[in-house]
C-alpha cells in the first residue's frame, strides 16, 4: 500500500524497517533519542541505539570501526556541516579500506545529515556542500528529493557494503508524498525522470527538483516541454539517463543549490560536454547558488539562491539560443 507521509518520517521508516530486519544495523548520533525518535530506543534497545557526545570524529570513526567488525551502523550526524569536523573520517578512511586491504575489509555504514537549511540559519549552517563528497573513491552519496525516494534510498544505503552519505534536505523535512509501505528499495545510480518532456532537459537535486518542476509547469504554458531529471544519487551518478534525455532535447539546464564551482551541475555539464556534445544545440546553462556564504537576512539569502524565475529564464535562454557552431 502507498500512504502519504512526510519526507522525514519516510527516512525514519526505512531505518526502522532495516533495524527490524537485521540486528547488525545500529543507530547512533547526538539526536537519536530525541522527540519523534523514541521508537528506536524503545524497540531496539540502548545497545543498538546510542546517544553520542558532540564528537563527530569519534562518532564516525566508531561507526567505521564497528563496520569493519561486522556491524552496519547508521550515524545521524544532524547537519552536513558537522561532518566537516570529521571530514578525514568521511573521505579518507572507511571509504578506502576495502581497496587498501585488497578486498579484506568492508565498511558498511551510513552517514545521515541534513543540508541546505536556507531559512535564516546563516553562514555556517546553510551549505549545500555535497560537492565535497563527489569524486571521492569508495564513498556513495544519496540526495533524495521526495519521501518515497528518501525511504528507498535509505534502505538501499543501509544494505550497501560501502560507506554511504545520505543527505536529506532540511527544507523538505515536512513535505509529504506517497510512500510505499514495507520494503521499498531505490537503486543507487539510477536517475529518475520526475517529469517527461521533449524540448529541454532540466536536471536538479533535492529541494531544487521542486523548483524545477514548478518552472516546468510555467514553461509548459509557454509551450516549452521540459523534462525534469533527478539523479537521486550523485555518486554513483547516472549520466546515461541524462545523455539519453539530451539526445532527445538537445538542450540542458542544470539547477543546483550549491555554489557553482562546488556543484553537481558543473560535474554533469562536464560529462555532457564530453559525451553528449554532438547532441547539444545550445550552451549548457547552470543555475546555481551565487558564490557567497549565505547571509542571515532573508533578502540576501533569497537573492543568491536558484529559484523558479532564474530557471525559467535559463530555459528560455537555451531555447532561444542559436544552434550550431561558427
Amino acid at each position: 500500500m502507498i500512504r502519504d507521509m512526510p519526507y522525514i518520517a519516510a527516512i525514519n521508516e526505512a531505518v526502522y524497517l532495516e533495524m527490524a530486519r537485521d540486528e547488525d544495523v545500529l543507530l547512533i548520533g547526538q539526536t537519536v533519542t530525541e522527540e519523534h525518535n523514541e521508537a528506536f530506543e524503545r524497540d531496539f534497545g540502548p545497545n543498538r541505539v546510542r546517544v553520542t557526545p558532540i564528537s563527530e570524529t569519534a562518532e564516525i570513526g566508531v561507526a567505521a570501526g564497528a563496520a569493519i567488525a561486522g556491524k552496519r551502523p547508521v550515524v545521524d550526524c544532524t547537519m552536513a556541516e558537522f561532518l566537516l569536523v570529521a571530514m578525514e573520517q568521511v573521505v579518507n578512511e572507511g571509504n578506502r579500506f576495502h581497496y587498501m586491504s585488497g578486498g579484506q575489509v568492508k565498511v558498511p555504514m551510513v552517514l545521515k545529515a541534513g543540508y541546505g537549511f536556507t531559512a535564516g540559519w546563516a553562514g555556517q549552517h546553510t551549505g549545500s556542500i555535497y560537492g565535497l563528497f563527489m569524486g571521492v573513491p569508495g564513498l556513495k552519496v544519496a540526495l533524495p528529493s521526495t519521501p518515497a525516494d528518501a525511504k528507498g534510498l535509505m534502505a538501499t544505503a543501509i544494505r550497501d557494503d560501502n560507506p554511504v552519505l545520505f543527505l536529506h534536505h532540511f527544507l523538505l523535512l515536512l513535505e509529504t508524498g506517497p510512500v510505499p509501505e514495507g520494503e521499498h528499495l531505490v537503486p543507487f545510480g539510477v536517475a529518475d525522470v520526475k517529469r517527461p518532456g521533449s524540448d529541454v532537459t532540466l536536471v536538479a537535486t533535492g529541494w531544487t527538483v521542486h523548483r524545477a518542476l514548478a518552472a516546468a509547469g510555467r514553461l509548459a504554458a509557454d509551450g516549452i516541454d521540459v523534462e525534469v531529471i533527478d539523479p537521486r544519487t550523485i555518486a554513483p551518478l547516472d549520466i546515461e539517463t541524462i545523455l539519453a534525455s539530451v539526445a532527445k532535447t538537445g538542450r540542458l539546464v542544470l539547477v543546483d543549490q550549491a555554489t557553482r564551482h562546488a556543484s553537481v551541475a558543473t560535474v554533469i555539464a562536464g560529462e555532457v560536454a564530453e559525451h553528449g556534445f554532438s547532441s547539444l544545440r545550445a550552451p549548457i546553462v547552470q543555475v546555481t547558488a551565487m558564490d557567497t556564504t549565505i547571509a542571515y537576512s532573508k533578502t540576501m539569502e533569497s537573492f543568491v539562491l536558484p529559484d523558479e524565475e532564474k530557471i525559467v529564464a535559463a530555459v528560455h535562454e537555451v531555447v532561444g539560443a542559436r544552434t550550431g557552431v561558427a
Binding site: 558532540i54 553562514g123 532573508k298 540576501m300
Partner: protein, 348 residues
Amino acid sequence: MTATDQVSESVLDISRQVEMYRHMVRIREFEERVKRTFAEHPGVIRGHTHLADGAEASIVGSLAAIRPGDQVIATYRCHGYPIALGTDTSAMMAEIFGRATGLCKGYGGSMHLVDLARGFLGTSGIVGQSIPQGTGAAYAAQLRGRGEVVLTFFGDGASKQGAFHESLNLAALWKLPVVYVMENNSFSVEVRTEEEDANAAAGEPLATKARAYSIPGVTIDGSDPLVVHEAVAIAVARARSGAGPTLIESKVYRLSAHGNSIAPPGVPLHFPEHEAIARYGDVAEYEAAKRGDPVPKFRAHLVEQGLLSVAEGDSILDNARAEMQRAVDFALSSPLPEASAALSYVYA
C-alpha cells in the same frame, strides 16, 4: 602583577558591583525581548537563536575581570557578552531582526554577533570551533607583548570536541594569555552532561580535564557574579603574568530551552519549554533552577548588603526595559538589506 594586586583586583567596589547588576539586568531584558519577538512579531527572527538567560552572572562576572585591550570570543549563544562590553543593543537587536542597521548589517544574525571595536571577536556556530580561534587571538596578544588576555567562552558540550583538547594543550605549551570559561549548564541541547561526559558520569567535575594539560582547573558557582569575578580575575592575572591558561568550569543553569524550535518552512518558530521539563518531565529541577535565578539573587544580595536600594534596583530594571524597547523599535523600523548586498564582503 603581585599577589596584593590580584586580591585588590578581585575586591570590587560598590559602584562596580551595581554596574555588574545593571549589565545582568540588561542581558536578561534583552533576551526576554528576543524571546517575546517570536510571539509578538512572528517571522521577524529567522533561523536558530540561543539565549543567555541564566548565565548573566557568569558572563558579567567574567567580563568584569578584564580591561580595555583584552578580547572575548564565544559561541552561537552570544548575546550576553557584547551587551556587557558596551555594544549598542539597538544594533544587536537589529542584527537579530536581520536589518541593514544591524551590528553585522544583517549578514550574521543571532548566532554570529561581532563587535571588533569592543574586542568581541565573534563566534562559531559549530561546537568547539571558536576555542582554537580564541587561543590564536591569545597568541597574537602574546606577540603584542602588552599584557592583554583573551577570554574564550564555550559550553560543557564543546569540551567533547577535539578542538577543545588540541587548543588547551597548545595554549598550555605556549603559555598563552587565555582563560577558558566553560559555561556548564548541564545540557548539550537535551543531552544531560553525564550522558556525554566521562568525568561527569564518574561524578567528577569537568574542570578535571585541565589535568590533561597540566594547567589549573577550577569549578565555580556561575550564578554568583562575585565568585565568578574572583576566579576569572585570578586566571586573568595568571595569564597576564605569562604563566599560561586556566580552565574555569562555571556552573550555570540556562533558564530557556536550548534554542527556538528548529522549524522547516511553514512551521512557526517559537521558544519551547526547557528540556528539563519538555524532555525529562523534571519540573522540580527546573523550578529549583528558577529559584536560584542569578539576577534576583544578586539583587537581593546587593540590597541585603546595603549596596543597592529598592528604588535604585527598580530604576535599573525600568531603564533596561526602556532601552530594550528602544532596541526593538529601532530594529523593527529599520530596513532589510538590499538583496544585492549579498554579493558584498565575500572577499576582504
